[in-house]
């Protein structure tokens, strides 16, 4: 690859990710040509364009793996992959909205956006 000449913040229509904050924390997700509005300066939701990418689900799941093992749970922390898709989507959305208690999970679930949550849940639950 000739990749070394491509640097961040110089989009060439390929794999770059840049954030531009203008006004009240509007973030432009330039890579995917999708504009996302960060509500209250918090959530970053680049929309279904990213969520449809299997790599994005895998990327999100890597964040979970720092705390949730994929196996050998002693019951303290639910293992990844053990929860069916509908339950997982519901749980993540409830954490996100605050209906379900759990500051850490609320913090996790707020940022991927609705489409991101569904993609992540599909990936983790092994749904095709």
């Amino acid at each position: 690859m000739e990749g070394q000449n491509r640097r961040h913040g110089q989009p060439d229509g390929r794999c770059h990710v840049t954030f531009r904050l203008t006004g009240r924390a509007q973030r432009r997700c330039r890579t995917f040509g999708v504009v996302a509005h960060a509500t209250g300066g918090n959530a970053v939701d680049c929309g279904a364009g990213i969520a449809a990418d299997a790599g994005y689900s895998e990327y999100l799941a890597a964040e979970c793996a720092t705390f949730h093992r994929s196996e050998h749970s002693d019951g303290t922390v639910p293992p990844l992959g053990a929860t069916p898709y509908p339950s997982l989507v519901a749980a993540l959305k409830e954490y996100r909205s605050g209906v379900r208690e759990g500051a850490a999970m609320r913090s996790v679930a707020r940022t991927p956006g609705g489409a991101g949550i569904e993609a992540l849940a599909a990936y983790l639950s092994g749904r095709p």
């Binding site: 990749g3 300066g41 790599g55 964040e63 850490a104 609320r106």
Partner: protein, 435 residues
Amino acid sequence: MIDRASGCGRHGVSRRRLGAFSLVTAAIGFPRPVRASARPRVVVIGGGAGGATCARYLAKAGGTALTVSLVEEQRHHTTCFYSNLYLAGWRDLPSITHGYDALRSLGVVLVPKRAAAVDPVARTVRLEDGEALAYDRLVIAPGIDLKYRAIEGYSERAAEIMPHGWKAGAQTVLLRRKLEAMPDGGVFVIAVPREPYRCPPAPYERASLVAHYFTRAKPRSKILILDAKDSFSKQALFEEAWDRHYKGMIDWVPGAFGGEVSAVDPVAMTVTTAAGDVHKADIANVVPAQEAGRIAHRAGLVDDSGWCRIVPATMASRAQPDIHVLGDAAIAGAMPKSAFAANSQAKVVAMTIRSELTGSRAFPARYRNQCWSLLASGDAVKIGASYVPGPERIESVDRFVSKVGESQEVRRQTRAEADAWYDAITAEVFGSTRS
């Protein structure tokens, strides 16, 4: 992910097919720069929470598209996180020590040597024995160096008498031995520097767990925290715990009351504060100010603060665009210097490098940190946040922290979570330790 892991067998075969070059270099040392490499080369310096995670994710997801080398002189890594549990007598050293076999089986080329210099123009890393490694992208995750000179009378040699215990391993063992040898009624002094330093709540967790040990083994002993700061992470939670579990045992002297330690005398076993107060210690746990690990300085990556400025979205060095800096050595904005943070940053760096070198897709950086502090048996608290790259610095969103007055049940759950986290993150950093 399991599918990808099983694909590593193919990776290994392919690597062997890469040829005689690998076999020869295994016999005679390590590769000299090879300019016409078929595959882009990524070199990672530092096998701690950041570097090992980055190497693992590059090898795991990069498949045969990248050659990933990890330069780490130690054959095993003892984690700084959870080393306070070792001091308390709750963990033995093997349980917090990890090897690199799982990384090797993923195809990571382990280079068990010290990196001596970086030539960012030629894009090579020179090793201590003069050998050189060429790279297309370099990741530097050297952790911290201790600024012994910041405290008069303190030095690497003095640390053999007054251990810092801030790099896990021999220093941690030394500190534990001193705790075991100390007579009941002794004074354990902890000197805490100004921020930034590795793991902001750790001095106070250490005070808590040493106090736990003292209440069982040496109940007349005292702990004196001499602090350069006027407040600290999770302060209300720690103070609540000290009052509840260790009443009268722990004293904290903030900077405003002359708490900052300016000098030590390892012969007289005294610690002197900026206010001129001289404290006699049975054990002096002197944690000096810190800076990015030496190789970051030699690579020209540090600014006047002694740490490395980075691009928030990618952790690329502001000084050298083909070099990424992650973990404690980086100025990561609102993110603390922690293993969790380093692990999170490493995944962003791995994704970015894969994108740049193999054309895989990159996604908006998401960072995270969560940190547990253990207070007593069945009692722990936590703090955490998500982070996003801002234009100038990494910014925190959705912060949360345990609350004063939580029920014992909540605290027991948090304590159990901490153990589950340790198992999960060490598997994330070093690969699964279970077959």
